[in-house]
């Protein structure tokens, strides 16, 4: 009985994973197709990769996605950390207000946040482009960073920072010598969330970017009106990059852990 259940659950999970990975395998496969077709594989070729590297707008979209995600992650992580620490010492009222306001972009549909920003930029006469795109990304990333750090701050012992001050630290030293090392995990996971949100974003980017500035999402959206197999090549590149990042970020801590254990036994 138990065994049968086990086989069924494995089969079920296999089907779910097959569903999740089918489109990914599909684009990787068809990125090597010799013809334009997205349904008939006529032979192996690298022409779509060649075309991708030659298409300036495509390479630019990769560049913009990456640079925006990197800057937005750095800025929102720093700002988010500072705000979260400040909030932990603030009055109830300020805490409540900031939490509620931060909830707005997280709970509002992306499209509402997006048109809000678009209307704002138009009202104050700021032309949309790289700057507005970056500003929008930083804006929606900060609340996620704060949210990731908050639980760590709640576990923090207030007396430690006080002790650091008594022992002669300036508040700034207390901040980066005592508080930050203890909330490091929260900061790292906040940065990861921010990077993923920014790199993956389409809706907010679509409404806040200007002419000539496309990230991968808006580029794909704009070109899918006709069949464009080099998008498959671009997708494959992203799949490889994400898989490598995931392998490195999951395997490296594992290896480190193993080495630590070996050293302990030695």
């Amino acid at each position: 009985m138990m065994k049968k259940n086990n086989a069924f659950s494995k089969f079920y999970l296999f089907l779910i994973l097959a569903f999740f990975y089918l489109p990914i395998i599909y684009v990787v496969f068809f990125s090597f197709n010799a013809s334009r077709s997205l349904t008939n594989f006529t032979g192996f070729s690298l022409r779509w990769y060649e075309k991708m590297f030659k298409t300036r707008s495509m390479m630019e979209s990769i560049y913009y996605s990456t640079i925006i995600a990197v800057i937005a992650t750095i800025v929102s992580t720093i700002v988010g950390t500072i705000v979260a620490i400040g909030l932990s010492k603030s009055s109830r009222l300020i805490k409540q207000v900031v939490t509620q306001v931060n909830n707005l972009p997280m709970l509002n549909p992306d499209i509402v946040t997006a048109i809000g920003l678009m209307l704002l930029f138009s009202t104050i006469n700021v032309p949309t482009g790289f700057g507005t795109l970056l500003l929008a990304h930083i804006m929606f990333c900060i609340p996620y960073v704060i949210l990731s750090i908050n639980p760590k701050l709640r576990q923090l012992d207030d007396n430690l920072a006080e002790a650091a001050l008594d022992l002669g630290c300036t508040p700034i030293q207390a901040l980066y010598k005592v508080i930050i090392p203890q909330i490091k995990e929260g900061i790292i996971s906040g940065a990861l969330v921010a990077f993923t949100m920014s790199f993956d974003d389409f809706v907010i980017s679509y409404f806040t970017t200007g002419p000539g500035i496309n990230n991968i999402s808006t580029y794909v959206y704009a070109t899918t009106k006709r069949i464009n197999p080099s998008v498959n090549a671009l997708s494959t590149l992203i799949v490889i990059a994400i898989t490598l990042i995931m392998i490195v970020s999951n395997v490296v801590p594992l290896l480190r852990e193993r080495r630590r254990k070996n050293e302990e036994t030695a």
Binding site: S9, I16, P23, F30, V79, G86, F199, V220, Y221
Partner: protein, 259 residues
């Protein structure tokens, strides 16, 4: 340590300008219309009257809600068993499974939807079915992960305890596991239903333009038509509908807890 309080003040200004002010501008646009040369804007309800007096708009709103609702239900029905099976695996297999479910999500949403377009290009499905496949594909991981999180937090000795007290497998599931996993289902609903109501590129890419949803309407009025007043009014109506639906979902959760 009180001096750290001041660290928040610049963010208050930032949040007021970039989070609160845009929402107020949407409200302002929704309740106004382009005026004449003398008075450039006039305050009016006409955008809302226009929306609710046209059956086409009501139909689009209804279709969006239906799509979001059915997507959410399918995600629960498919996702619950998946989460349950994952939670029953060995701990190290569990983390591998969670990683495998998360990984596709990290690949750009547009890219994944584009991939489905290729697969479904020659498939004999109606545009509606194609949109549903795309929606379920995009949102199922959220549901699985949320339910899995609440299941994995459960005390493993609860089920044997239920058995000792005379429950069979079915009863133990209905009386112990299911009620304890409801918070996960509720947060799954929040993560699926909410963005599903407003989604617009999945229907556009997979439905081929014939399947119009509220998100597509808003996009049209902002990008194509340039009627920002009416577009804002539609956004406001959609945000309110979502808010009300979420209120009822949460209320259902609390009522459940009260029983």
């Amino acid at each position: 340590m009180k001096s750290f309080r001041r660290l928040v003040y610049p963010y208050l200004v930032w949040a007021a300008l970039l989070i609160v002010l845009p929402m107020l501008i949407i409200v302002f646009y929704a309740f106004s219309a382009q005026g004449n040369d003398v008075i450039p804007v006039k305050i009016t309800f006409e955008n809302f009257v226009r929306f609710f007096s046209d059956p086409i708009f009501i139909e689009v709103l209804g279709r969006s809600l239906k799509l979001a609702l059915i997507t959410t239900i399918i995600c629960i029905l498919i996702g619950y068993p998946a989460a349950y099976f994952i939670a029953q695996m060995r701990p190290d297999s569990q983390s591998v499974m969670v990683l495998l479910v998360t990984l596709p999500q990290l690949i750009n949403m547009l890219v994944r939807t584009y991939a489905w377009r290729g697969i479904l290009l020659k498939a004999p499905f109606s545009p509606e079915v194609k949109v549903y496949i795309g929606m379920v594909y995009n949102f199922l991981p959220y549901m699985i992960l949320q339910i899995y999180t609440s299941l994995s937090k459960m005390d493993p000795s609860l089920v044997p305890a239920a058995h000792d007290l005379g429950c069979d497998d079915r009863m133990a599931f209905l009386k112990v596991i299911l009620p304890l996993s409801i918070p996960g289902v509720i947060s799954g609903i929040t993560l699926v239903f909410l963005p599903a109501v407003s989604s617009f590129f999945i229907p556009k890419l997979l439905g081929g333009g014939s399947y119009v949803l509220v998100g597509n309407l808003i996009e049209n009025y902002f990008v194509t038509t340039g009627d920002w007043n009416f577009g804002s009014a539609i956004s406001l109506i959609m945000a309110l509908v979502i808010l009300i639906s979420m209120y009822f979902t949460r209320k259902f959760d609390y009522d459940k807890e009260a029983v």
